[in-house]
């Protein structure tokens, strides 16, 4: 916790173990869901943690660390720096990315909650049917749930939410910072700046490089999510087609396909 306000001018630069510990405990929570994901889901999770969270924590945070202290305006008027910085950077890239990563990872917890609920129901059924052998109960805990039925819907809904959150954040990013390039110089004339002053952004090229990188990885994650949705829908369709004898829907689809 920041209790000493006479810190050096760029506090985020120091290697504070607390945020890393919290991303680490976040990783522990989210990767628990991994067991019930598809193969693409596991790839998505690895991409998320290695190319986004890890890059954010070890690299991007130090690039943006001096974003305010290194933002200099060509004036000695007190307050002009603060006001111009606030005008051009309503919310920092780093905070936007941190919020994006948190929101994008949470739909996975929907799946975890559903799995826990199903296990609870299974345990109850076992107990009612008299099989309250501790070995059987342990088996319920460790068995991998098949993505069928209600779990399929929960999983697909969580994927859809992930895609929506990713796209929303990319859109918000584009609205606040039109164009992905970080400019070197901004001109500002908010009160109390005496006239239109030149203000210089610190490390614009490095920031552009990281912004492009994070956006590219975001795009890759969206593609992985879409691929996973397509895979799940395809799997469900093929299952219905295989059970065409039992379901009229499957027979109808088969008939339609055969007519081509």
């Amino acid at each position: 916790m920041y209790c000493d306000s006479s810190d050096p001018p760029d506090p985020p630069k120091k290697q504070d173990p607390e945020p890393k510990m919290n991303w680490a405990s976040f990783y522990a929570v989210i990767s628990g869901v991994n067991r019930h994901s598809t193969g693409i889901g596991r790839i998505w999770l690895s991409v998320l943690f290695i190319f986004r969270i890890l890059v954010l924590v070890v690299a991007a945070e130090s690039v943006w660390g001096d974003e305010k202290s290194g933002f200099t305006c060509n004036t000695q008027q007190p307050g002009c720096n603060s006001v111009c910085y606030d005008h051009f950077f309503p919310i920092s890239h780093i905070r936007l990315w941190a919020l994006q990563l948190i929101l994008v990872s949470t739909p996975a917890l929907l799946v975890a909650m559903h799995v826990a609920h199903r296990r609870h129901v299974d345990k109850r059924l076992y107990k009612l049917s008299g099989r309250s052998n501790p070995k059987d109960l342990e088996q319920i805990k460790t068995q991998k749930m098949k993505i069928t039925g209600a779990l399929w819907w929960t999983y697909v809904i969580s994927l859809v939410f992930r895609i929506i959150f990713e796209v929303t954040f990319m859109y918000v990013f584009y609205m606040i910072y039109p164009g992905y390039k970080m400019i070197r110089l901004v001109k500002c004339d908010s009160y109390p700046c005496p006239n239109t002053v030149d203000c210089f952004v610190s490390r614009p090229t490095e920031k552009t490089v990281f912004t492009v990188f994070m956006l590219a990885v975001s795009g890759v994650c969206i593609l992985l999510n879409i691929a996973e949705v397509v895979f799940l829908v395809g799997k469900a369709c093929s299952k219905h087609l295989n059970n065409a004898g039992d379901s009229t829907m499957g027979a109808w689809i088969q008939q339609k396909l055969c007519s081509y």
């Binding site: 006479s6 305010k68 603060s82 309503p90 920092s92 919020l99």
Partner: protein, 227 residues
């Protein structure tokens, strides 16, 4: 003692919560504690060093900062999160007390009867430790009290934040004329927009938690009435 340690404590008490209670705990740790630690703390990190007043008078900045920020948002949120998490420990303490009492009864009972083998007794003690108590009787009252306290703390802290800072918006400029400032000086707050965004986010998360607590309380009351 740190946030992960608190998380471990609460997760232990979580076994005896309802499903809404488990959702509440996830919302608390992911959308409030995590956001506070990974994002909000760096936004408020330079709140005093970058608080600039349009004067060279020594001491004026300190005095004006102190007048407009009696308690920082970050400290208020940390206190709020700590206070809001503690009623759950009431439930954990009650469960521990129940287990202790039942264990004593079990040992006394087996001592008097004398026919339970050691293995049977160990098995019974293990089930005692691992069992999940139904939320009825005195546990129901303890749980309901803890929910009421959670709601009071959440509401109290949100009101305190609103009252101290006159709303959730952070202004860019404040005017100050405390001694030793020579006259009415303009003082500029650093990153006001970002601070407003995070204040609104944390207030929203707080309200969601309050709604979850109220829903849980309503569910418990309904369950008790139907019983």
């Amino acid at each position: 003692m740190s946030w992960p340690a608190l998380y471990n404590q609460l997760v232990g008490a979580n076994r005896h919560s309802t499903s809404l209670g488990k959702i509440w705990l996830s919302v608390l740790f992911i959308f409030r504690v995590m956001v506070l630690v990974v994002a909000a703390e760096s936004v408020w990190g330079d709140e005093q060093s970058d608080f600039t007043c349009n004067t060279l008078q020594p001491g004026c900045e300190n005095v004006c900062y102190d007048q407009f920020f009696p308690v920082s948002h970050i400290r208020l949120w940390c206190l709020q999160l700590v206070f809001v998490s503690t009623p759950t420990l009431m439930v954990a303490m009650y469960v521990a007390y129940r287990n202790h009492r039942d264990k004593k009864r079990l040992l006394q009972g087996s001592g008097r009867a004398g026919f339970l083998s050691n293995k049977g007794q160990d098995g019974e003690l293990e089930t005692l430790k691992k069992r999940r108590l139904p939320i009825a009787g005195a546990l129901w009252w303890t749980y309901a009290c803890s929910l009421v306290f959670r709601l009071l703390f959440e509401g109290g802290f949100m009101y305190a934040l609103y009252a101290v800072y006159d709303g959730f918006q952070m202004p860019r400029l404040v005017q100050c004329d405390q001694w030793p400032c020579p006259n009415l000086v303009d003082c500029f707050i650093s990153r006001p927009t970002e601070k407003t965004i995070f204040t609104v986010f944390m207030a929203t998360a707080s309200s969601i938690c309050m709604v979850l607590n109220m829903a849980e309380l309503a569910y418990l009351v309904a369950k008790a009435i139907t019983r």
